[in-house]
């Protein structure tokens, strides 16, 4: 491992719950020598990545990281972090895949990607995703801000015979999403579409959107389900990472539980 890598890795030990770290403490955390760590910190300080609190002598992240983040946000649009994982997802599932984002109290489509595998396939063509009737919407209700629920309840439009019609139906469906980690729309929005969806998170660890697979319902089998689920999770991890976020441990836990309870395939690399 290069010296530069070792130096940069020190920054991983700073977090909201451990914002300031002393030299000795950092040595213990990183399992490195004190002199080495000290020099690494010097390098980080020179370049503005960390600064030393003059009172406590401990180190904390410096103002330079703010600038870098600003530059990144100005120049790398969210779409670009989505393209590759979405294409991979569409490819491996053979079904139309899409990413939606939460903005305010609506869930908007950001990008969709169709697979050429079948000539009959789902087309994503909506302005916003109905919260109560789509897999993406259910993810938003389950993992997004609580205010969404009232918005959803005020607009329980009926799209198909399987659309949730009452607050009670909706609440129990949301509960299922929370327990499984997967939004699901079994013909609740369109008669021939079976949607499966997982949440995406941004740098604040808050719900930012969802990535979904919209299968042609007639093709959706219990054998495919875990494959789609596995790959949804992989896509969510990648996109979340690209957006500077982190999947909350609680979500990872329910995913693990969900998958272990079905006969699973080996995870993608």
């Amino acid at each position: 491992m290069s010296s530069a890598t070792k130096t940069l890795e020190l920054l991983n030990y700073f977090s909201a719950s451990r914002p300031e770290i002393g030299l000795s403490q950092l040595c213990k955390l990183a399992g490195r020598d004190k002199a080495t760590t000290y020099r690494h910190l010097q390098a980080l300080e020179e370049t503005g990545f960390v600064e030393q609190n003059p009172e406590t002598k401990r180190y904390r992240l410096g103002p330079f990281v703010l600038q870098l983040a600003q530059t990144r946000e100005k120049t790398v649009p969210r779409r670009s972090g989505v393209e590759a994982p979405l294409a991979a997802l569409a490819d491996v599932t053979g079904e139309t895949s899409h990413v939606s984002v939460l903005s305010g109290l609506s869930v908007y489509p950001l990008m969709s990607c169709e697979s050429p595998k079948h000539s009959i396939r789902a087309i994503i063509d909506v302005r916003t995703f109905a919260l109560h009737a789509t897999a993406s919407g259910m993810c938003a209700l389950a993992f997004g801000p609580a205010e969404l629920l009232t918005v959803a309840q005020e607009n329980l439009e009926v799209f198909t015979s399987k659309t949730a019609r009452t607050s009670g139906d909706l609440a129990s469906a949301i509960e299922t999403v929370r327990e499984t980690g997967f939004g699901r729309s079994n013909r609740t929005f369109e008669d021939e579409i079976y949607g499966l969806s997982v949440p995406i998170f941004d740098q604040t660890e808050k719900f930012a959107g969802a990535v979904s697979v919209a299968s042609v319902a007639a093709r959706f089998t219990s054998k495919q389900e875990p494959i789609i689920q596995q790959n949804l999770i992989a896509a969510s991890r990648k996109i979340t990472h690209n957006w500077g976020g982190k999947i909350p441990a609680a979500i990872e836990a329910v995913w693990a539980k969900s998958l272990s309870s079905s006969q699973i395939m080996e995870p993608a690399s």
Copy 2:
């Protein structure tokens, strides 16, 4: 210079105006060997600081910087205490306003705010403020730690025909800043910018940064000057307060003296 420092310095070449950089280009910019630069980029990529655009093969800032910034801001929430006063300052002056912070021996931009009033306006796009050539830098020299002076003297880069070129020039300019309470950059950094700046203080009553107005030089008149000065002072008071600091009485005194010697407008609320 340590290998880690050299690696980290590569990040300085990324900016809003140059968001993606190819290997060869970066070598030229940094004046380094290609193999070395390549390995440095590898280290940065491993740690998430940069990522490679798969289409162009060029490098850009990675998602990890977003997380770091998030952590820094949660920990040292300076940006949030700056937003409102800065917006107000830009609004009332009609010019680009910005706040810089001192970390170690460098002055970094923290936030800038442009006014929509004019279509020609200053853009703040630097990694650090030159101490001897910018209004913010002059504030740091005048009110910050004494060590800054030697740093400044060792790097008297000439930006325009009006940039200070000798230690003597610099020293007398600093003296003026101390006497007036205002950092000033009359086309010393860019030919068309006139900067005016006042210091900000933290909870230890030490110099923490500066708030500045970067006017388009052609628009800067002696009539506007006191207005800008008044509002700079108001902004500094608010930000200093938000950061838990207090303006030293000595500074308040020189400000009062500065303003009374010119015909003043009534202060903003």
